[in-house]
Symmetry: C2
């Protein structure tokens, strides 16, 4: 039986090799590849992706999984062996539901949709994007038809990004948030308005600063890279080949927070138990928990007072013209200012969630047919006004701003805010365990934080479901209490 | 029948996708990858290599090739269709001779041998390297046993790098060269001794210079990259994704010539007919012809008077301290100085060949059993003295200097000098066609040269054999006349 298990493991290791290779090739495409290499790269990635998929959905996988039922049962569910068989079975059962033809069609539609979206956004021409959305929605309906009907259609889509999460649960969480955030935003708006960051912020110096801050956090040359790209992301070739990216733009310091954000993603992947490498268990368990980590380093560490008390003098030294005469408290206020704005990726940590909630609502309406595609801009603009008091000047700055729908990624957005919510549940717990966390951060010591996260969350990789993983850390399910407490305490209007 | 051909083509396209992916991953490993990613990367490359190989040697390939015999005969041998079937058949017949087990063993021995060589070289301890060489030679004998016995065993090894080339032909060429080079070197030595390059040569400025010179040659950002690495090489993801590398070292200008050398390799790959992309025909035909191109840009263009008349002021401007007071003729003399030295990769264009000839002789003795492995250092040192008048201080600077044997690459070295020889045959022919080549180079115009090479050599890719490819350009087989004329004219002692 061990031999059967080893055969499964070898098969999965090869599949994982292909997926890691594809990840590095995608990273390369977005950071290094000469532009004209795009056509060839698309073929290479398609071939590798198809081969990995074919190896995985082959009858041989099913046969091995079937033979390993007894083996799985004879092992502790927490063990590597039982987890590998269990998670592989779940992955397999999802993967074989969708025909290779539909998968190929979705993949082609995504490539084509990306170009159509770029053109439509450049021209701010939503009508030009309608056929893309129609095609993607039609494909989504065919995709949904491959699965058993759950409580709601949207459950199936959500499950692709946050396995096991229910739409009804997300709705409950988002309704809680919305009820508190809308008044909080209205009250907080402009409170920190005066303390804006202004100046040149030379991109080369930003680059130095980005490297410095993550080296302080725990980035090590031998196992990590940081490179510039257009839209920051984290990726890599394995647990010891972590590649994060950022984007430097003069006149602002967003690169620094993007770098800290991607560091959080990178650290999660880097601290997965090395014994899980070359298996499907060897990476972060869900987009939501991943986002809990990126948001933690970006917002809870990186926009926190203890960190800036320690690090601000260094930033001042690098940008004497811009920050030389600005007090640390003003800087802290500036990087924490709450102000409704048009673009999600530039939003502050409070209003960000309203962008996500708006999307989630529209996605459900789209999938459920409650909203006609053609009236999306109108619906978008109406809600931007209702939730954020923002008037949308054109669709490029409204409904067309994000790439996700062009590739049929529906069900992805909620994970951003689920991550925010979970980040505070985890943060509260780790502050109980590391009593002097603020003092440590204030002296630039991040070792205990890293280790706690590694031990309690990262090392598990995909061994357990997202909900089980969270439960192991915080002792219960996802809930909004800690996050709302944090936001109100940090951004709420002080009691008179 | 067209359908059968398309099936073969699709299969080969997928194999080519995997090979290109592997090339980019190898490039990444040598330029970008964090060091600790090495173990994971080895697995990824092994899996991709094995899959490409298995797809290629599968029975299905043989079946398609068999069914396409009539199809091939019905097409012009020069056509894409006939060439694809013909070349694939030759590749296939070679590939299936070697069992997957032997192939895997050779690949493992190469990885292991590389580490053993590094250690042995660092310690200058040849005895420690003997077991590696013994294992590699034993594997080589098993490899030879997979093939029909030709005139000489060494033919099989040579064929892996320069298809169709015979050992007897190489021996004839090398004997010709040796007879002329040994006295030429003795006479030329030190003639340019006074004109040495001395100074700092800041690596950052070298970097700027390298980019400038290849942009002048025809490097374009959209389809090329240049990056630093330890041991320069050329690679890439396809015809429009060319990646060349160089090595910057302060105190010298070798990086510039390494860059020009790799540019020559890159241009060959870049100018292959785009219709051959995603087929096994879509790259340079042999190591020898590839080297003819790299040596042409490095030595015939890059160490030529017309080029330096044009470009020297720019180099002076970048290195005013080092070169401000040096005349162009002294600089020309310095970069063309002939001086026997210990290390092949640092050798000048004349003595370089003697390093190669020495290797070729030793390799034949090794394969034929005429030399015992243990006496290699002695044999090496004896010939270094006889051919170059050089005393070898230790094995690190002698027989252990190069990596090739550690990976079992025997039969590779001769292609370096074959490339030199062919470069002059091609150069003579192209000077006939481009009558004003020197004048063009002297005004920094390389378009005609690039286009001639593209049209006459590069575009063919692997459609024809190396000998056929050369014959198309120069109308005959490889011969030493033009190369020896060039060397004597440039480096010979002028008649009194």
């Amino acid at each position: 039986m061990t031999e059967t298990f080893e055969r499964l493991r070898t098969r999965l290791a090869e599949i994982q090799d292909l997926r890691r290779a594809a990840a590095v090739l995608s990273w390369d495409q977005q950071t290094m590849m000469p532009l004209q290499g795009a056509a060839g790269r698309a073929e290479q990635l398609a071939t590798i992706g198809r081969m990995a998929h074919e190896l995985f959905v082959a009858d041989e996988t099913a046969k091995l999984l079937e033979e390993l039922r007894g083996f799985e049962e004879s092992h502790d569910p927490q063990s590597f062996e039982a987890s590998l068989v269990r998670v592989t079975r779940t992955d397999y059962e999802k993967a074989v539901r969708v025909s290779p033809e539909l998968r190929a069609e979705m993949s082609r539609a995504a490539s084509q949709g990306f170009l159509e979206w770029k053109r439509a956004k450049e021209a701010s021409d939503f009508a030009a994007f309608v056929p893309t959305l129609e095609r993607n929605l039609e494909l989504k309906q065919r995709y949904l038809a491959c699965f058993d009907k759950g409580e709601e259609d949207y459950d199936v889509l959500l499950d692709d990004f946050e396995r096991g999460m229910r739409t009804s649960e997300v709705r409950r969480i988002f309704d809680d948030l919305k009820a508190e955030l809308v008044p909080l935003i209205a009250a907080a708006e402009g409170r920190n308005g005066e303390a804006a960051l202004e100046g040149e912020f030379d991109p080369d110096v930003q680059r130095e600063l980005s490297h410095e801050v993550i080296e302080l956090f725990g980035f090590r040359e031998g196992a990590w890279r940081l490179d510039p790209t257009m839209h920051p992301f984290a990726s890599g070739g394995g647990i010891n080949d972590i590649r994060i990216t950022t984007h430097y733009e003069s006149g602002e310091l967003e690169s620094l927070f993007a770098t800290m954000h991607e560091y959080g993603h990178g650290l999660y992947e880097h601290q997965v138990d090395p014994a899980l490498e070359r298996t499907p268990l060897g990476s972060g368990v869900s987009l939501g928990l991943h986002e809990s980590q990126s948001r933690m380093w970006e917002n809870l560490v990186g926009r926190g007072r203890p960190f800036w008390r320690f690090f601000y003098p260094r930033v001042q030294a690098l940008f004497p013209d811009e920050l030389g005469s600005m007090e640390v408290e003003s800087f802290y206020a500036a990087v924490n200012s709450v102000k409704p704005s048009l673009i999600r990726i530039h939003a502050d940590e409070v209003t960000y969630n309203m962008h996500v909630i708006l999307r989630f609502e529209l996605e459900q309406d789209l999938i459920g047919g409650a909203v006609d595609i053609r009236s999306l801009p109108e619906e978008w603009n109406r809600r931007m006004d209702a939730y954020l008091g923002i008037e949308v000047p054109d669709d490029a700055h409204g409904v067309l701003q994000d790439v996700h729908w062009s590739g049929g990624a529906i069900g992805y957005f909620p994970t951003y805010t689920l991550g925010n919510v979970m980040s505070l549940q985890i943060w509260e717990r780790l502050r109980e365990d590391i009593g002097d966390l603020d003092e440590r951060i204030e002296r630039g010591d991040f070792a205990a934080l890293r280790e706690w996260l590694g031990e309690r969350l990262h090392r598990h990789g995909r061994k357990f479901t997202p909900a089980e993983t969270l439960e192991k850390i915080v002792g219960g399910p996802i809930e909004t209490g800690p996050y709302l407490r944090y936001l109100k305490e940090k951004h709420g209007v002080p009691a008179a």
